[in-house]
Symmetry: C2
Subunit: 334 residues, 2 copies
């Protein structure tokens, strides 16, 4: 955990003049503060950032990771379900990339163990970027700027898909959002939350939401059934975790989504059917806890949830190296 410790040290210096003292959690709550992340390999992060914004990893030449996980928008596309190659609609709501490194697994059904495993999926999925890995590698290998940068990071002239996903994952590790008002409160700043927000958090905690929404990401620590007390009504054909385990008992089990930056990551649920936070809180209360929150209770929980918006990653837009004459051209209508 050397890197984490370094991150904390840097942040402590930065906030020394402020009200919060990073990484010194004063309050012992089921939600933990987000720690800043400092990579030990900035060149790899920079390469990963280029690949993150790289539309040439798609068959059409216009879809990048950032299309559906937009870092201007809380790491999501704010659609019910995403639009991919050929204007096809995806089956699930795009989860935020922010703080995704803190989750126990990736994708709603957890079918990828980590960010490296995850990153290869959307590139080749026909309804997302629709790009065979072999062709993606041919594209990158034909671009002198990329060849030089992969060489500098990995020491090899031959780019592999593992290098691509490894660099993207290293960039994604940096996409954490510390310093939310809730974290400031966790770290001892009594004035960081209003009375209403604090009441909302207390209700959230004491009525049992934290059974699933816990840890630094306020989620992402377990798979849970959507519709525990009452069944969830949805036209979505997606069945969640059972697609990975093959176990019938896992039907409609999904990874608990993070609530960090939830004000920015609308709409909600795996099918994106809850348009507002109020709607999401109401449905969660009834379906997961068997509890009908009053309008005032919903409002106070929503007020609390909005305190989970942290410092958004500051991204300098990368300049992508131009294709060479040998670069395979995009094919939007393939």
């Amino acid at each position: 955990m050397k890197m984490k410790a370094l991150g904390a040290a840097v942040a402590f210096t930065l906030s020394a003049a402020g009200t919060a003292a990073w990484a010194q959690q004063v309050r012992d709550e089921p939600i933990k503060p987000i720690q800043p992340y400092v990579s030990s390999n900035p060149a790899k992060v920079e390469l990963g950032k280029k690949l993150w914004f790289e539309p040439r990893l798609s068959m059409s030449g216009i879809i990048s990771c950032n299309t559906c996980h937009n870092l201007s928008r809380g790491g999501t596309d704010n659609l019910k379900t995403s639009i991919g190659h050929g204007w096809k609609a995806g089956p699930v709501n795009a989860p935020t990339v922010l703080n995704s490194s803190l989750a126990l697994a990736q994708f709603w059904d957890g079918r990828a163990a980590n960010l490296v495993e995850q990153a290869g999926g959307p590139i080749q999925a026909d309804i997302e970027m629709n790009m065979p890995h072999a062709l993606a590698l041919d594209v990158l290998q034909s671009i002198p700027g990329y060849v030089a940068e992969f060489k500098a990071v990995y020491g090899s002239d031959r780019i592999t898909i593992g290098m691509v996903t490894g660099a993207i994952a290293e960039f994604e590790e940096t996409l954490v959002t510390p310093n939310s008002r809730f974290d400031q409160w966790l770290q001892g700043d009594d004035k960081a939350l209003s009375a209403k927000e604090l009441a909302g958090y207390t209700l959230f905690r004491d009525s049992g939401c934290v059974a699933c929404h816990n840890g630094p990401a306020a989620g992402g620590t377990s798979f849970q059934r959507m519709g525990l007390v009452e069944p969830y009504q949805s036209t979505s054909p997606v069945e969640g975790r059972s697609a990975v385990t093959g176990v019938d008992a896992d039907r409609f089990n999904f990874k608990v989504p993070t609530l960090r930056n939830v004000e920015m990551t609308y709409p909600y649920f795996h099918d994106g059917e809850a348009a507002t936070l109020e709607e999401a809180v109401d449905i969660m209360g009834r379906l997961q806890l068997g509890r009908t929150y009053s309008k005032d209770e919903v409002d106070s929980i929503v007020a609390f949830l909005k305190t989970l918006t942290g410092d958004q990653p500051q991204i300098a837009l990368p300049i992508l190296p131009p294709s060479s004459n040998a670069t395979p051209r995009p094919n939007p209508f393939q």
Copy 2:
């Protein structure tokens, strides 16, 4: 021209330790150096930048100005013709936004007199963003973060389309690319170009390319017929300037594109049919000048053209304010 003078002064200070002295053009050539641009209204630029990256200005919620004029890629999408709402293909190659403020008019056919007039077009074009202006304004007006920012910039609670396009245009004014190696040479640095690059420029100039590709943008100063000596063969139905003037003599007249950053803005021509710079130079020589360049000549002109890549705008990715519960939701399949 106070702002230009200020820009020059700032740049002069910045480059005092370097080899180039901004705005002191030593060589009198038909192509002029690009001057840095310093806005007198940074808040308006910042608002315009948000709107530039704002997918909620599209019906689908996923297309922004930056989708087709990608600032990571020389201000283009590097497609033959762009893909818009519903995966529809546009009729022409997306021109670069970089240095577009230097052109005599906007769009390939010059149908917009300036950047403000231009900015409204793609928002409502059904094959681009497909968003009626009235609905775009309803969206912005429903977002508290935007209401506050428009108020700060324009002093009004009521957002108008003129405010939207005005802010986008102000941001676009900043998207100039000074300090290319060719500009360094223009400004007196003899070592900025190799012998081959200089020979390429001399050939480019003396064989007549500068008749059209002149001024600071190396283009954008006139409309010219595509296929002057020999007709241009194309399956594109686009006829250019005559669509604006109604004058038959203007058929196949197009605004001369800028050659700034041309290494990054492939493919070339209004229909994007020239995949490489070599192909474009060969075709231009034959069709516009009646001259067949040898392979060596093409290579030296291409070497010169690559010296026109300037400093790309450094963009801090904006964080977009979240929608409110009242914000009209995107509709990708409308």
